[in-house]
């Protein structure tokens, strides 16, 4: 380990993601302020000029995501960050980014909704992130870290995978993680592995044909082929990029599924349940798209039931049910609107389920 790697610093989640992006070679940030994501913009506005980068405060999230589109087409590593209402405004641009096969990284520090909602933590943008980003047939990578260190690591990975697969990547976090301070270390990042981008519109210099970055295709048969080719790439992503952490799953009768900040309180609830001799465990999806179906399928062989714990009205349950083909009951415990499920409350639900077993 180099000295730099060993050096640990105390940082807020939002700022740690911003710094991780810079260390991953991102030199362009376009954003618009919104609670609880504003620290990202504030950090970038301070750091970018010092590293020869661009921080630009756009006139709206619509403009910001389209600036991202332009910079991504020009071939640079680029990102934006926002919170739920602002993320909705980006959906047109994200659809175009996906249709143009452009890499970029987007952060959503979720807050309670719908509408203006509140500013407290939420996971109620799960459907939007994994299924309803915008018009058309497409998916984007969705990462769901649950510690500040993981926010750093996945931020760097998101840039790499976005470039590798020419796909937008989302960091889906919440106000709790964004504001949380934890000691972290920045891994040494090898920037020599950033793939070449021969498709970029960066001026042909009379050395190649002109490049076109475009999502328009008026011939239905051709458009169908383009979409099918993109979905073939999605199949590779599904096979290779799904990630999950398993916690005490092997002998668990009740398998809880939780991601992000909710996984932290769920872990405490499981420890409390184990002290009461209830065999509970947790699967923590680290990627939400692709959803870690295999890990959940495997657990269905031994578990008696599942419990999805979320900061929403239950948006991940369907994915769990689909993963196991409804072979085991899938229950739900959640809070919404900015309320956080507490370990004792989750424990209460675990105990209720345990009473019903056998």
């Amino acid at each position: 380990m180099t000295e730099k790697q060993a050096e640990r610093v105390l940082m807020k989640g939002n700022e740690a993601m911003a710094e991780a992006a810079i260390q991953a070679g991102c030199r362009h940030f376009f954003g618009y302020p919104i609670t609880p994501s504003t620290e990202i913009a504030a950090y970038m506005s301070k750091r970018m000029p010092k590293v020869g980068g661009t921080y630009l405060q756009a006139e709206s999230e619509v403009a910001a995501i389209n600036m991202v589109l332009g910079a991504a087409a020009a071939g640079v590593r680029v990102m934006t960050g926002s919170s739920s209402p602002g993320i909705s405004l980006k959906s047109e641009g994200v659809s175009y980014l996906a249709g143009c096969d452009l890499p970029c990284v987007i952060i959503n520090v979720q807050r309670g909704g719908p509408g203006l909602g509140g500013i407290q933590p939420s996971q109620a943008d799960y459907w939007q992130a994994t299924k309803a980003w915008g018009h058309g047939d497409f998916q984007i990578l969705v990462y769901a870290p649950s510690t500040v260190q993981e926010m750093v690591n996945l931020m760097m990975e998101a840039f790499d995978k976005a470039d590798e697969y020419r796909i937008p990547a989302l960091m889906l976090v919440d106000g709790l993680l964004g504001q949380m301070m934890e000691p972290i270390a920045f891994p040494e990042k090898d920037l020599s592995t950033i793939p070449a981008k021969p498709w970029a519109t960066n001026g042909h210099k009379h050395k190649r044909e002109h490049n076109i970055v475009n999502s328009l295709c008026l011939k239905p048969d051709e458009l169908e082929q383009q979409v099918i080719a993109r979905f073939a790439r999605y199949d590779i992503i599904k096979a290779k990029e799904a990630q999950a952490e398993e916690y005490l799953v092997d002998d668990a009768d009740i398998v809880l599924v939780a991601f992000g900040a909710t996984a932290r309180t769920t872990r405490s609830a499981i420890d409390m349940a184990r002290e009461k001799d209830i065999k509970a465990g947790m699967i923590r999806p680290i990627t939400l798209w692709p959803f870690p179906e295999k890990v959940i399928q495997k657990a269905a062989n031994t578990a008696q039931c599942f419990l999805s714990v979320e900061m929403s009205m239950g948006q991940m349950i369907d994915d769990i049910k689909l993963a196991i083909n409804c072979t085991k009951p899938v229950h739900f415990y959640g809070r919404t609107g900015g309320m956080v499920p507490m370990p004792v409350d989750i424990l209460g639900k675990i105990e209720e389920l345990a009473r019903g077993l056998k």
Partner: protein, 253 residues
């Protein structure tokens, strides 16, 4: 043998989809000629709009990006901030620039983005079949102003050059027309001047070009040129609205 007329190098050799008599084609040619004369095709990135010029990405030989409707100035900002030494231009219609993309154009201008905007004002939504545009003249009949644009209910047309020239980030703004040979010559000079402003890093530059839409105006190509001269030019006076590099700001006419 002396060559008296040539197709510009910066245009691909292909059939364009524009309607007969549409002046979009002339404007493409002028932009391409300027790119040739400045020898910047290899360094230029163009942004095509959503509108009749959507296929411009096929026609121009420089690198091209196709933008969502109205967002071209934001895309151009992203490109220019990534490649500050390259030339970046947008090509936008009036619906694209002055309606759905009004925020993006105003803020690109006020930031002084060093881009060049080719703004094609034909007082109508051409591509979607002739609906009212923000630049549709008072009284003008369109598919969605079938009784003529009533300013009481539909409001007034936007004078884009006048509006953007009030912003400090705008270095150069000129309105031209492509209805006659002398005006086409002036249009070319304006486009050249706008690209030079970008080259000299003066700030944001825009050329508003009054253009015809014979199809949706319901006129022959020749009558459309006449309609432009009689109706559009009086309402949208031609001239330089802003030239930061000239001594003092030139007033129109």
């Amino acid at each position: 043998m002396t060559v008296v007329y040539e197709k510009p190098q910066a245009l691909n050799d292909m059939v364009m989809h524009y309607c007969p008599g549409c002046t979009h084609g002339i404007i493409h040619k002028l932009v391409a000629e300027v790119i040739d004369e400045m020898d910047i095709e290899g360094e230029t990135i163009g942004i095509a709009p959503v509108g009749c010029a959507v296929m411009a990405y096929e026609y121009f030989k420089c690198d091209m990006i196709e933008s969502p409707h109205g967002r071209a100035p934001a895309l151009a900002t992203g490109v220019k901030r990534s490649l500050p030494e390259n030339f970046v231009f947008t090509y936008q219609g009036d619906g694209d620039l002055a309606a759905i993309g009004a925020a993006e154009i105003v803020h690109a201008a006020t930031r002084g983005e060093k881009i060049t905007v080719i703004f094609v004002n034909n007082a109508i939504y051409g591509m979607t079949g002739g609906q009212m545009a923000p630049t549709t003249l008072p009284g003008q009949i369109t598919q969605t102003s079938p009784y003529g644009r009533n300013v009481e209910t539909e409001g007034f047309p936007i004078h884009v050059c006048e509006m953007l020239s009030t912003l400090d980030g705008t270095a150069y703004a000129e309105r031209v027309a492509v209805n006659s040979i002398p005006n086409i010559r002036k249009a070319k000079k304006a486009i050249r001047r706008a690209f030079e402003a970008q080259k000299n890093k003066e700030g944001f530059s825009i050329v508003e070009i009054l253009s015809t839409c014979p199809t949706n105006w319901g006129l022959s190509p020749v009558d459309a040129l006449g309609w432009l001269e009689e109706n559009m030019i009086p309402y949208y006076p031609l001239g330089v609205y802003k030239d930061k590099s000239a001594e003092g700001n030139q007033e129109v006419k």
